[in-house]
C-alpha cells in the first residue's frame, strides 16, 4: 500500500474534515453552503450525509452570531470548524474573533480554551472585485491569541487543517480559491503538521524567496526560471503566518544575503513588512542588497477584466526584480495563451 495519493487541495481539505469528524464525535462543522449542492467547492462533500445534520450544517446569514456560537461550543470542549466562502464575509464577525476568541485564554487566566478553526477562502480572478478577493492575513496576525495558517499545497492543506482543528487555540485557516483544484501528493491517514514550521521547498545559495499560499506557486515557477539562468533561489513557504518561523528565514538569508518576499496582502502594514523589519532589527547587516517586497498595491481590487490585467504580481515580477538585483538579463519563455483572470484553462467562474 502506497503511503501517498494524488488528490486536489479541495479533496485534501475534505479528507481532513472527514477524518477529524470521525476522530472527535463532538466536532462540529458549519458555515454558509456547507451542505448545499456545491458543498463549498467540494471541500465539505458528503460530510453531512456521513455525520448527520446535527454536526455538519448550513447556517443562517449570521456570521457574527455563528462565530460566537462556535466560541461557546469550543469553551465547552465541542471543537468547531466554521467556513466562510470568502474571507471578506468573516469581517462581519470581527467582534467575536478579536474581542472574544483571541482573548479568552489569557483574559480568564487560562481557565478556558477556544479550540475553533475558522476557514476563510481568498477569491481571485473572474471579477471577484474589491470585496471578494481580500487576503487579510495581516489583520488577523496582528491580534495576540490568534494563530493564522495559509497552506500552499494539498499535503499541507490536509495536515495543517487537522492540526488547526485539534489545536486548543482559535486558528484562522486561510485558503486560496486558485489552489482548490491544484493536485498534489498527500499523505494518507490522520496526520498533522506542527503549526509554526516554515517549509523549505527548494534549496539555493543566491537568493531567498519567502512566500505563502498561492504566491508559493509563483515562487516555484520563478525558481525554475532562475535556476536555468544560474541563479539558485531558496524558496521558503511560510505555511504559518502566526506564529512566524523567523529562524528559518534568518538562517536562509544569512547564507544567501538576498531577500524577496511575496505577499498576497496589501502593501501597507503587511506581513512582508513585518519580516523585513524583523530581519533588520535582529541583524541589520545580514543583507547585501536591499530587501524586495512584492505585494498587492494599496488599492482595492478592481472587478473588470481589463483592469485586473497586470494588477496581481506574478512570477514575471519576481524575474524583473531579480534582473535588477543581479544586474543581468534573465531569459525565459513567456506563456502567451494563459488568461490572467483564471488559474487554469478549465476554470470558468463564476466564483
Amino acid at each position: 500500500m502506497p503511503k501517498f495519493k494524488y488528490i486536489t487541495y479541495a479533496e485534501a481539505i475534505n479528507e481532513a474534515l472527514d477524518l477529524s469528524l470521525k476522530k472527535d464525535p463532538n466536532l462540529l462543522c458549519y458555515g454558509l453552503g456547507v451542505s448545499d449542492p456545491k458543498e463549498v467547492f467540494n471541500t465539505t462533500k458528503n460530510l453531512q450525509k456521513k455525520y448527520s445534520s446535527e454536526r455538519v450544517f448550513d447556517i443562517p446569514c449570521s456570521e457574527n452570531a455563528l462565530t460566537g456560537v462556535g466560541i461557546g461550543c469550543a469553551i465547552k470542549k465541542c471543537r468547531v470548524v466554521m467556513t466562510h466562502q470568502r474571507l471578506d464575509f468573516s469581517l462581519l464577525s470581527l467582534d467575536q474573533i478579536i474581542n472574544n476568541a483571541s482573548k479568552f485564554y489569557y483574559m480568564f487566566n487560562k481557565k478556558i480554551r477556544v479550540p475553533i478553526t475558522i476557514r476563510m477562502i481568498v477569491g481571485r480572478g473572474w471579477g471577484q472585485g474589491p470585496t471578494h478577493s481580500q487576503s487579510l492575513q495581516s489583520i488577523f496576525s496582528h491580534i495576540p491569541g490568534l494563530k493564522v495558517v495559509m497552506p500552499s499545497n494539498a499535503n499541507d492543506a490536509k495536515k495543517l487543517l487537522i492540526s488547526s482543528i485539534f489545536d486548543d487555540n482559535p486558528v484562522i485557516y486561510i485558503e486560496h480559491r486558485w489552489l482548490h483544484e491544484q493536485k498534489g501528493r498527500v499523505e494518507k491517514g490522520f496526520t498533522k503538521k506542527k503549526i509554526s514550521n516554515a517549509n523549505i521547498l527548494k534549496r539555493g545559495k543566491d537568493l531567498t524567496i519567502v512566500a505563502s499560499s498561492h504566491m508559493t506557486t509563483e515562487a516555484i515557477i520563478a525558481g525554475k526560471i532562475l535556476q536555468k539562468n544560474n541563479i539558485a533561489a531558496e524558496i521558503i513557504d511560510l505555511r504559518s503566518i502566526k506564529p512566524l518561523d523567523f529562524k528559518k528565514i534568518e538562517k536562509s538569508i544569512s547564507k544567501t544575503k538576498r531577500l524577496i518576499i511575496l505577499d498576497s496582502g496589501f502593501s501597507f502594514g503587511s506581513i512582508a513588512n513585518e519580516i523585513i523589519s524583523s530581519v533588520h532589527i535582529r541583524s541589520y547587516k545580514l543583507l547585501k542588497h536591499q530587501p524586495i517586497k512584492i505585494s498587492m498595491p494599496d488599492c482595492p481590487v478592481p472587478t473588470g477584466f481589463s483592469l485586473t490585467k497586470n494588477f496581481y504580481p506574478d512570477y514575471k515580477r519576481i524575474i524583473f526584480e531579480c534582473e535588477k538585483m543581479f544586474s543581468k538579463k534573465i531569459s525565459y519563455e513567456k506563456n502567451k495563451n494563459q488568461l490572467h483572470d483564471v488559474p487554469n484553462k478549465e476554470y470558468l467562474g463564476p466564483f
Partner: protein, 332 residues
C-alpha cells in the same frame, strides 16, 4: 404526572423561597454597597458597573439555577449574576483589586468574571457579545446530550445590536435550551431608551414576533420575577425550546463607578423616586412582614457582614500577580 407550564401568579410561595430571595437581594446589595464605599480608597483600580437596584433579577439564580448544569453568562454589569450563581466572593473582590487570587488572576477585572466551579461561565465587556457564546454553550449541551440549560443576561442596549437578533433566530431554528434575560433599566450609559428605540415599543412583544416565547415582568416584585424564572426554566426543560424574558429594573448609581450621578439630571427625579420607593428590599419587607421579621433581617445582615469582612480583608492581604507576556500565557 401533570406537567404545569402555565404561568400562574397565584402559585403558593413558601416562606423559605421568600427568605432565600430576600437574603440574596440583601447580600448582593450589601456587597455592592461595600465596593462602592471602599472604591474611594482607590485600591480597586478598574471600572465597576454596580448592580445596586437590579439585584432582584439575579436573586432567582441562587434558588432555581444553583446546579452546575445551569450555565450563566453575562455582560459588563455582572457582579449580581456572578454572586447570585454562587460565585466566590473573595475571588470577585480580589479580581476587582487586581490580585493574583482574583477569579481571572487580575487579568480580567470587574467585567471579565468567571467561576466554572459553580457554572458561572464568563462575562464580557462588549455590549451583546456574550449572547451568541451562550447560544453556543446551549448547542454544546445538545450535542453532548448534557442536562441543564444556558442563561444569558444583557441590558436593553443589547437589543440594539445585530448579534442579538442573529442569536435569537438561530436559537429558534435549533431549539436551543437557553433563557435570554434582558434587564431593561432604560438607560445605556446616559442615553434614554427614547433616543435609541421607537417610542412605545415593548421589547418582549417585538422579540416574540421573531418566533420565540417571551415573558415580561415590570420588575417591582422580586417574588414575581422569581416566578417568571421558574416558568422559563420549566418551559425550556419541558418544551426543549428557548425563551426570552424582559424584566424592567433600575440602577441606583452611575453607569460606571461608585457614586450616584443624579446631579447630571439625565434621569427625571420622578422616575428615580418611583423606583426607590419600590425598592425590592422594602417591597418584600412590607409584603411578607411575617416572614421577614426584624430579627431575621438582622441575622441576615450580620451573616453577610461577616462574609464581606472576611473576603475584603483576605483580598487586601493577597498578592499581586506576576506579570508575564510570554506566549505560553497567551496560547493554550
Amino acid at each position: 404526572m401533570v406537567i404545569i407550564i402555565g404561568l400562574s401568579l397565584k402559585m403558593k410561595i413558601s416562606a423559605k423561597i421568600v427568605s432565600q430571595i430576600y437574603y440574596q437581594i440583601l447580600r448582593i446589595r450589601e456587597i455592592e454597597s461595600r465596593i462602592s464605599k471602599e472604591y474611594t480608597e482607590w485600591k480597586m483600580r478598574c471600572p465597576v458597573h454596580l448592580s445596586i437596584g437590579q439585584e432582584s433579577v439575579a436573586a432567582p439564580l441562587s434558588v432555581l439555577f444553583k446546579n452546575k448544569k445551569y450555565e450563566v453568562l453575562s455582560g459588563h454589569r455582572a457582579h449580581a449574576h456572578y454572586l447570585g450563581k454562587g460565585g466566590n466572593l473573595f475571588k470577585l473582590i480580589s479580581e476587582i483589586m487586581g490580585k493574583s487570587t482574583g477569579c481571572s488572576g487580575g487579568r480580567g477585572g470587574s467585567m471579565h468574571l468567571i467561576d466554572k466551579d459553580v457554572g458561572f461561565l464568563l462575562s464580557t465587556a462588549i455590549v451583546a457579545n456574550s449572547i451568541p457564546v451562550a447560544a453556543g454553550v446551549a448547542l454544546s449541551k445538545k450535542i453532548k446530550k448534557e442536562k441543564g440549560l444556558a442563561l444569558v443576561f444583557f441590558g436593553d442596549g443589547a437589543i440594539e445590536e445585530g448579534v442579538f437578533y442573529e442569536t435569537i433566530n438561530f436559537s429558534i431554528i435549533k431549539n436551543l435550551p437557553i433563557i435570554f434575560i434582558c434587564e431593561n433599566n432604560k438607560y445605556s450609559v446616559y442615553s434614554n431608551l427614547d433616543v435609541r428605540q421607537p417610542k412605545n415599543r415593548k421589547i418582549h412583544k417585538m422579540v416574540e414576533k421573531i418566533g420565540i416565547k417571551s415573558v415580561f415582568s415590570n420588575g417591582l416584585n422580586a417574588i414575581e420575577i422569581y416566578q417568571k424564572f421558574l416558568y422559563a426554566k420549566n418551559y425550556v426543560e419541558r418544551k426543549n425550546k428557548p425563551i426570552f424574558l424582559e424584566i424592567n429594573t433600575y440602577r441606583y448609581l452611575e453607569h460606571c463607578g461608585p457614586f450616584d450621578d443624579d446631579n447630571l439630571k439625565y434621569r427625571p427625579k420622578k422616575e428615580i423616586d418611583f423606583w426607590k420607593k419600590n425598592d425590592p428590599l422594602t417591597f418584600l419587607e412590607k409584603k411578607y412582614d411575617k416572614i421577614l421579621n426584624k430579627k431575621k433581617i438582622n441575622n441576615y445582615k450580620n451573616k453577610i457582614s461577616n462574609e464581606i469582612n472576611l473576603s475584603f480583608n483576605k483580598a487586601k492581604r493577597s498578592k499581586y500577580p506576576k506579570s508575564s507576556i510570554k506566549d505560553k500565557e497567551i496560547y493554550a
